[in-house]
Amino acid sequence: MGLGLRWYHFALWAGFILVMALMPEFVSKGTLRTMIFANFLAIFAISWDVLSGRTGYISFGHPFLIGIGAYTTAILTKRFDVPVEYAIPAAIAMTMVGGTIMFLPALRIKGSYFALVSLAFMELIYQLVQVIRPDLTGGTRGMSGIVTLTRGAANGYYLSFSLMIIVALSMWLLMRTRLGTALSAIAMNEESVKGSGLSPTKLKLFAFMTSAFVAGLGGAFYVHYLGSIAPRALFDINFVFTIIVATLIGGASTIVGPMFGAFFLTFLLEYLRPFLPGAERYLIYGAIALLLYMYQPKGLYHIFMSQLDRFKKSGDDD
């Protein structure tokens, strides 16, 4: 398949998985809980990145997709007693339908305009969820007492980490193929992609579908982890902010970047908690995010890689 895989790729991934798998042995339950949120955020960030980081179709309304996944499975399991093993695939399928809806405007508009339409999508579903069939969606209050899949920090951690690593690895492999190159090419120059004989529509649709798949998967498992869902917490500009910032701080258009960004941000927030319990925390958190982003819009991954390059170059003079 020409993935350009090297032995050290396997070594790094294997080492990473091993360390993460042993984590419950070494860290406290509280830290594990934080890691669970980081895992979910990483899934959402990867989903955002597949769409926006790669193809340049910036989505300011990603919770639209995540929310469809979360609400579908919540409604199916809670209101219709559908078993989780059917509800989650159904949720993913619904999210992909949502992805198709979001894809339609992308046929005509891009850049800032698309970003705003996606924001409008999120606002629209936020308002509709509360008004249309509140007996199913729980209206403004949302739903609680949704079946949870795991009990205890360690189990929740293993489940969320497995999901995250499966998503990350498959996206990593997928993006190493020529498909990844083609998707990135769309962000650089959609006209030239067309002029090279490739159909941008097909590629974009694929990116939207993949992104929706991952968002739906993440959203569905997320709601079955939280056990509750509320429109205000989900379709929120702060949530968008966290997803985008995690991706960008880590490094867009990479897989390791969003993962790293998600862990960095989640832990930054949690480690500030004992020192700054109140609103100050978000001020510091936002300010750090802004400064990092201003300093290097390509993210920490890029900083790290360029340092590594410099190190390599000085090492073997290549």
Partner: protein
């Protein structure tokens, strides 16, 4: 024997402006044709309509006997036509090789994922337009205008065309670079490629083409052998200003 390209009564209106006005011409297999005319005459608009970037207002375009008006750009490229742009449009963050790779890709997501890139072919194409080994990992911001045109040629050739539409391939190039591109075109002519070439540099164009079409205000004003077209009176007054 069907013609590689056959254009009949092509009209394109932009609002009140008529960019191409009832244009008809054919290209023959393996023939190289110059398309000349002053700025704004409608040359690039013809290219855009052939490629499907603009839909013509009326008229027909046939590629090897297939009417293509309803086809998308990638579908037309699959039929064997491809173009370069007056202002090169590289993928800014890709290396030369990656730029060529995009041109070489099949338009099938499944094949993109399952098949390996043909790196040998990428290198061969890049070298054939005159890049050196050390250029292959450069990105467009490190390339000269000449290099960008070469890259444009390479990516166009990568789509495996039978007809190439070249738009101002010599603009902004040094004499050496013009020579290099000219040699490449000559080589492809000997391999039976069909060309339609737009250039202001008639001296450079002359050895590369068999025939020429001159247009002005969206109309064909002369058509025939290169020599006959440039000596045509109407062409001389409208274009050469003499």
């Amino acid at each position: 024997m069907t013609k590689p390209l056959s254009i009949k009564n092509l009209v394109k209106n932009f609002g009140g402006l008529t960019a191409t006005d009832d244009i008809s011409f054919d290209l023959n297999e393996g023939q190289s044709t110059g398309l000349i005319g002053p700025n704004g005459a409608g040359k690039t608009t013809i290219f855009s309509q052939i490629m499907g970037e603009y839909r013509q207002t009326s008229g027909t375009i046939e590629l090897y006997g297939t009417e293509i008006s309803k086809l998308s750009t990638p579908a037309r490229i699959r039929l064997g036509v491809s173009r370069t742009y007056q202002v090169p449009r590289p993928f800014a963050e890709f290396t030369v090789l990656e730029n060529v790779r995009v041109g070489l890709m099949p338009d099938s997501i499944w094949k993109m994922i399952t098949e390996s890139p043909n790196v040998d072919r990428e290198i061969e194409l890049a070298l054939s337009v005159g890049f050196s080994e050390s250029d292959l990992r450069r990105t467009p911001d490190e390339l000269s205008m000449g290099d960008l045109r070469k890259l444009e040629m390479a990516r166009t050739m990568a789509t495996n065309p039978r007809i190439m539409l070249l738009d101002e391939v010599f603009a902004g190039l040094t004499v050496g670079e013009i020579d290099q591109i000219a040699k490449l075109i000559q080589k492809m002519r000997s391999e039976n490629m069909t060309f339609l070439i737009v250039s202001h540099d008639l001296k450079a164009l002359e050895p590369l083409v068999d025939d020429a079409i001159a247009i002005n205000y969206g109309k064909v004003i002369a058509q025939g052998s290169f020599a006959s077209v440039i000596s045509d009176k109407a062409v001389r007054t409208s274009y050469l200003g003499t």
